[in-house]
Amino acid sequence: MSARTRELFGLLPVSLLVAAGFAAVLATRTQDVSNATITYGAVFLGLCVIAHLFIRARLTDADPYLFPLAALLAAIGLVLIYRIDADLAREQAQWFVVGLVFFCGTILAIRDHHVLERYRYTIAAVSIALLAMPRLPGIGGQVNGAFLAIKLGPIQFQPAEFAKLGIIIFLASYLRETGDILVRPRLRPLPFQRQLLLYGLPALLTLLAILVLDLGTAASLLLVVFVASLVAVLRERPSPKHFGPLLLVWGLAMLMLIVIRDLGSSLMFFGGFLALLYAATGRLSLVAAGATMFFGGAVFVANNVSHVHERVEIWLDPFKRGVVDNEGYQIAQSLFAQADGGLFGQGFGQALLELPGGGTILPAPHTDLIYAVLTNEAGLFGAAGLIGAYLLFVWRGYKTAMLASDGFSKLLAVGLTAVFALQVFVIVGGVTRVIPLTGVTLPFVSYGGSSIVANMVLLALLLIVSDHARSERIRRGGLV
């Protein structure tokens, strides 16, 4: 069976799921299953088949599972949003169509993704500009204290969703070039005196700093890991010329935290960067140094930027008196909704969503808390199923990276997949109180035009890389 036929068969269960999901929601709402449900399923299947035919024509050898998985996630999203608000679902369906257009457009425009390398500095500049846009007066604005969205006329737009793609493209290209030079092969062992100097002095200084500054356990640990990894990095004698830009990326992530005031998105960006750095160099010390720098910076920002600080406080104890009905309301309600779901959930369309006096009991159920709605309705099993679907998507993404033969393709696929996985972790982790809750969307599932469109472009890029890698393998007679 060819890859494309497998893809087509993969879409069938997805369409069934859409029809069944809409039927369930409609049944609980109006007591009768109208033709609408079949229509919804059919239209969705039609759209997916069109996209499939397009992939068949342009990317013959691309991974057969990525598109059906994305369609599955989008289908779950549509059903959930339909259950929350039918009008929003219609808009989301329109955005899905727009996303498909962008998806095909990307595939048409970029025949070979290596062309992106040529424009990497332009892409980087545009991405950073995009990130800063919500701070611009007139079009930008604060939502829940974070600067994540801009308004252009009637369209609200989250530039960070697109910036994440640009920054990954830039980093993949940059690290492809410098990854090998960043670290040099290990030379002969150092003489004893130099070793003492290299390891002893920082150790002494660290100890002194801990004692003088009277640091707590966590801070001490952070400092020790940081210094140790920094020493290990220095031992590799990296060239400052190539190392500079990496410091710049860290600075940028910190700045982003301060400028857009969103812990989640900067965690996502910086995490993607670290994943790329690790894939490119294979040096854990670099990642550890970067991670501790980020963590230290984040703690500093958390203590000094009130919005971020507040989010962290809420995260630590959302049930505190006075907090639970105000700032902590969202996360507390998220947990209550999940508890209400239990193992198997209340059933689609059955969970309590609306307050008797009007309004929803969960704030932002269609965006931030859509995972909580799913858990409420489909229970732990449904939620684990969703996470499983994401894990399969991530698996196919990394698989694509492994099959790719050149550095840029590998790094691009790694970066896109890593940032996708991190986005899932940041928002689901926020909703389940693993980390502080931030306003990142759940890819393909959450309501939101920018999110759907950007993730469709991400999918297109992954498929382009996959098509190249696999067709090359097939040409060489390898199994894929």
């Binding site: 209550f336 009991i361 732990l380 939620a383 899932v424």
Partner: protein, 483 residues
């Protein structure tokens, strides 16, 4: 590079596993504590959306609690309405989202919200039935309740009427009452009221029972064979009991007198001697059989009941070291004073009226499904065999003399023989008030109703026979007359 990519995938698996672990934590492991979290309004909203079961009086028609729907469609919620106002406030209670629940509304909550066992709820889920509460039919009698309220006439006090053979509680009146319909709007005011309208005086308040307690003493004495109804005992006054002189009411001296006559005239000195004759241990043993020293086994919330018993000056329950002679006549001192709730004294009368068999008191008669099918009938249940049937017979005859010719003539009913006992305890810091009591059952040949009535802090000279007996009489008349 592929090794690093595989490691990155491994990291993703770990991160996603953390997500599932946390989701399990909220959905399964911590679910109960989250549901119980006071900030979680879900259970309350869910509950508001299902109509609660109705609560009926004994006739199955008179509504004591019903629902009013507010809003329509998805937004429709239900709130409680109590058509009889404060009349049944103490036995029925209230149930409101903001104020919580009380009394039967609390005790029968599972039924009233329609809670089924696991198997049943799956069945009704399959049948696509919307959840609805079950109706509760009580044993409460509207007419007799009104008679009791009228009898008390606004004075603080309590009246309880029970069917001796079944334990069915037909009247539970505590004055002052509160209007449960006002609970949502004025709960603070009701709660702070110095007259304590929320206090159920039939189960939550303990009073010195006075001479009504002589029934317990007599039961213990007769049953243990220490005296017989014809035993003659010296009833002169005063008599030294535990080193302190004790007087009869009004200082009246009776001389040698039969045990039956001693009860008829409520002779303190005789009963104090009888108390000393049976001793602390036997008296306490019989009290326990009557239900003292434990919460009444009533279908009612624990926090709204207190045990009757002998209580010392520090407020502790004691079962030894007290002045048994004075306790035997319904008094006592700092080392131990007898205190009883009106329900407990009604149970004493009921046990004697039912040939010594004490039945568990029951407010609920049956639980009904919405389609009228009976879900559960609360069957009569024996609590204890307090005394031998013969003892109960003897005591019943003695008590009927009290109403025929003794202190309780005000409770006599035309054509029906009533057995009863008066009591007049002195209360207040300087004993400036009285606590009149009357306990009774009727008809003596086949007792169908036992009753206890008491009034708080009455002016001096108010005796059980003149103040409490007429109240008991009107309740008996209402219950026995109507059938």
């Amino acid at each position: 590079m592929n090794r690093q990519i595989a490691q990155l995938f491994g990291l993703t698996v770990v991160l996603f596993a953390i997500l599932i672990a946390f989701t399990s934590r909220w959905t399964v492991f911590d679910a109960q504590s989250l549901e119980d979290n006071t900030a979680n309004r879900r259970p309350l909203i869910e509950e508001q959306r299902t109509p609660r079961g109705l609560i009926f009086a004994r006739d199955g028609r008179t509504l004591l609690a019903r629902n009013r729907a507010i809003g329509r469609g998805e937004d429709r919620v239900f709130t409680r309405v109590y058509p009889t106002g404060g009349l049944f406030a103490h036995p029925v209670g209230y149930s409101f989202i903001r104020n919580g629940r009380r009394s039967l509304e609390l005790f029968r909550n599972d039924d009233l919200v329609g809670e089924e066992d696991e198997f049943q709820s799956i069945l009704s889920e399959l049948e696509d039935q919307t959840r609805e509460g079950f109706d509760v039919v009580t044993n409460l009698d509207a007419g007799a309740t009104r008679a009791a309220v009228q009898g008390l006439g606004g004075r603080k006090g309590a009246v309880v009427a029970i069917e001796p053979q079944t334990g069915k509680v037909r009247v539970m009146v505590s004055i002052p009452e509160y209007d449960p319909n006002r609970v949502p709007s004025a709960f603070g005011q009701i709660e702070r009221d110095p007259n304590q309208p929320l206090l159920n005086r039939t189960t939550q308040e303990l009073y010195p029972p006075g001479s009504t307690f002589k029934v317990v003493t007599a039961a213990a004495a007769l049953d243990s064979g220490k005296v017989s109804p014809t035993s003659v005992i010296d009833g002169s006054s005063p008599k030294t009991i535990s080193g302190v002189p004790l007087e009869n009411a009004g200082g009246q001296s009776f001389g040698p007198i039969s045990f039956t006559d001693a009860l008829t005239n409520s002779v303190n000195t005789v009963f104090a001697q009888v108390g000393e004759r049976i001793g602390q241990n036997t008296l306490v043993e019989y009290m326990r059989r009557f239900g003292f020293y434990a919460d009444p086994q009533l279908d009612y919330p624990d926090f709204q009941m207190v045990p009757s018993g002998i209580i010392n000056g520090k407020g502790d329950y004691v079962d030894s070291g007290f002045d048994v002679g004075r306790v035997a006549i319904g008094q006592g001192g700092l080392e131990g004073e007898i205190r009883a709730s009106p329900l407990q004294m009604a149970l004493v009368a009921a046990a004697i009226g039912n040939r010594g068999r004490l039945m568990k008191p029951r407010l609920t008669d049956r639980i009904l499904r919405k389609d009228g099918r009976v879900k559960q009938v609360i069957e009569p249940d024996l609590q204890s065999q307090v005394v031998k049937p013969e003892t109960a017979e003897q005591l019943a005859q003695m008590m009927s003399r009290v109403v025929e010719e003794g202190t309780g003539t005000a409770a006599a009913l035309a054509g029906i023989t009533v057995a009863g006992k008066t009591g007049t305890a002195e209360v207040g810091a300087n004993r400036e008030f009285t606590q009149p009591w009357f306990i009774a059952f009727a008809p003596v040949e086949n007792p169908r109703i036992a009753v206890a009535a008491t009034v708080e802090r009455q002016p001096p000279g108010s005796a059980g026979g003149t103040v409490a007996a007429p109240i008991a009489r009107s309740v008996l008349e209402e219950l026995l007359g109507s059938g």
